[in-house]
Amino acid sequence: MDLTQPTPRITPDSDERRGFRAWLPYQSTDPCCEPVAHIRAENLSIAYEGHQALRNVNLEINRGCITALVGPSGCGKTSFLMSLNRLTDLIQRCQVTGKLHMNELDVLAQTTDLLHLRRAVGMIFQKPTVFPFSIRKNLELPLREHGTHDRMRLNSGIENVLKQVGLWHEVKDRLDRPAQGLSGGQQQRLCLARALVLSPDVLMLDEPCSALDPISSGIVEDLIVSLRGHYTVLIVTHNLAQARRIADHIAFFWSFEGVGNLVEYGTAQTIFETPAHELTAAYISGARG
């Protein structure tokens, strides 16, 4: 896959094509997705102020795959993501128990170097969170923080990553203008670029398209697809058609009496065509949640 090519622009009339694609069966022979566990959660539980939000999640996420986390609001998807880069540490009285490994790294260990971990695990939020300064500085800040100060390397890193998210031609003449002047979709792609500029192993996206219009959402979605094989991608989405279009694996969460559980986990094909659990079947057919 050639990542230096800007992703093609989606025009409104290609929406039909996208709609059609949703009906295509999942391609299990995708060469990019390796059946090698990258992230392994064992009995992972998360509690806020003593209230369980997520209980006993057991899950192995494959390297290079796109894994979608789906389920109704409040079932602990965001909490799960935030435990992977220990953002849960920033929330007072939030307790994460169980085991969580990323390759050989014990994520939950006291001794884990958090700055290092978070460098390896990029995260995108629902609302674009550009920092209130220039586009260039948004991308330079993480690079500088992690030890790149050479002007040439900074510039080439910024250019590469902006090309990768297809923003380069849109912003190359205004890199020094405030990032908040970009449109919502552009801002979200800048956030993606900002996460990618650190060359992470894992990329987590928490409802990255929900605040975007269909066209920007399509652009971001195509971008995520282009990441397959290069990064281990976790994406939370409420858009089941989107999950079906882009995900290799799907983790379905459900909250039982306010406590989130992982109900079913499998390839997108299994989840959408032959779900094992009746809750899953009901949810994907739109009957519940």
Binding site: L90, L115, M123, T129, F131, E145, P178, Q180, A195
Partner: protein, 284 residues
């Protein structure tokens, strides 16, 4: 309700609102006008820079201006770092309902309501006597610092809290350390609010009289060090108006200088604040 009476009501409301607004402006204009009327003829560069003579009836306010700058400088030099530090502690390192945070906030609210004469007595007891600094610019500046700290801390804390949680989370998610996050993201984002707080504090420090009478004293000579006693502009005005027969003209001129300084500070800080905001929000 008929159309006519609705009309009347609408105009009535508008008139009342206009009247209220005008009534706020009139005293302000009156005050400025009065100061200009009485003080302008005495105002000159030599008045601003020369030393007072004959207990201030003649001569200028050079040393007094100098002492004021030094006192306010000491005050802000101490209060700004302490205020920022405390505000960051309250907003970034403690929960909103943490016991220590609540204690600090509670004491600040009490301190903010304490009359400045009490700060003067306190400063005299602590800095002048207990710490042996005597009547000095240092004592006065430190006393003022105690007085403006509550304003600085509260406004700074509010500015930091107004920054969205997402900004902090995404900074952390990029592996930025806490000091980097504070320096590159929180401080710039809070800057307009910090400037407003700083201006309030600065204004209060410039205009303070009661807290300084007992701490930095009355001496109207040019100060040679921070350990010298020095008279501030506000104390000078008070002295000329209350204790010196025939001191009124120079009191008015001094007041004009003081009000002019305060206006300049206000305009300057709101200029920076809007520039700061527009710099960051200009469409790309």
């Amino acid at each position: 309700m008929s159309r006519q009476s609705r009309h009347v009501q609408e105009y009535g409301t508008t008139a009342i609102i206009w009247m209220a607004a005008t009534m706020v402006v009139i005293p302000f204009l009156w005050l400025i006008g009065d100061l200009l009327w009485n003080g302008w003829t005495h105002l000159s560069w030599s008045f601003v820079f020369s030393a007072p003579q004959n207990a201030g009836r003649e001569g200028g306010i050079g040393p007094i201006l100098m002492s004021t700058m030094l006192i306010v400088g000491v005050c802000m030099g101490v209060a700004v770092p302490m205020g920022l530090g405390t505000a960051l502690f309250l907003s970034e390192y403690t929960r909103h309902d943490h016991v220590l945070g609540r204690l600090i906030r509670g004491s600040l609210d009490v301190l903010a309501g304490v009359p400045s004469i009490v700060f003067g007595l306190f400063g005299n007891a602590l800095f002048c006597q207990a710490l042996g600094l005597g009547f000095s610019i240092l004592s006065g500046g430190l006393t003022l610092a105690c007085m403006v700290l509550p304003i600085l801390i509260r406004t700074a804390e509010e500015s930091f809290r107004a920054i969205s949680r997402e900004q902090r989370l995404s900074a952390a998610a990029l592996g930025l350390s806490q000091p980097t996050t504070i320096r590159t993201i929180l401080l710039p984002a809070a800057m307009p609010g910090l400037l407003v707080g700083g201006t309030l504090g600065l204004g209060r420090a410039f205009a303070e009289t009661a807290a300084l009478i007992f701490t930095s004293g009355y001496v109207d000579r040019m100060p040679e060090s921070l350990m010298d006693s020095g008279r501030s502009l506000a104390v000078h005005i008070y002295d000329l108006a209350m204790n010196v027969a025939g001191g009124n003209p120079n009191a008015f001129a001094t007041a004009l200088v003081l009000v002019g300084l305060l206006l300049i500070i206000n305009l300057f800080s709101s200029w920076i604040a809007t520039r700061w905001t527009s710099l960051n929000q200009l469409p790309a």
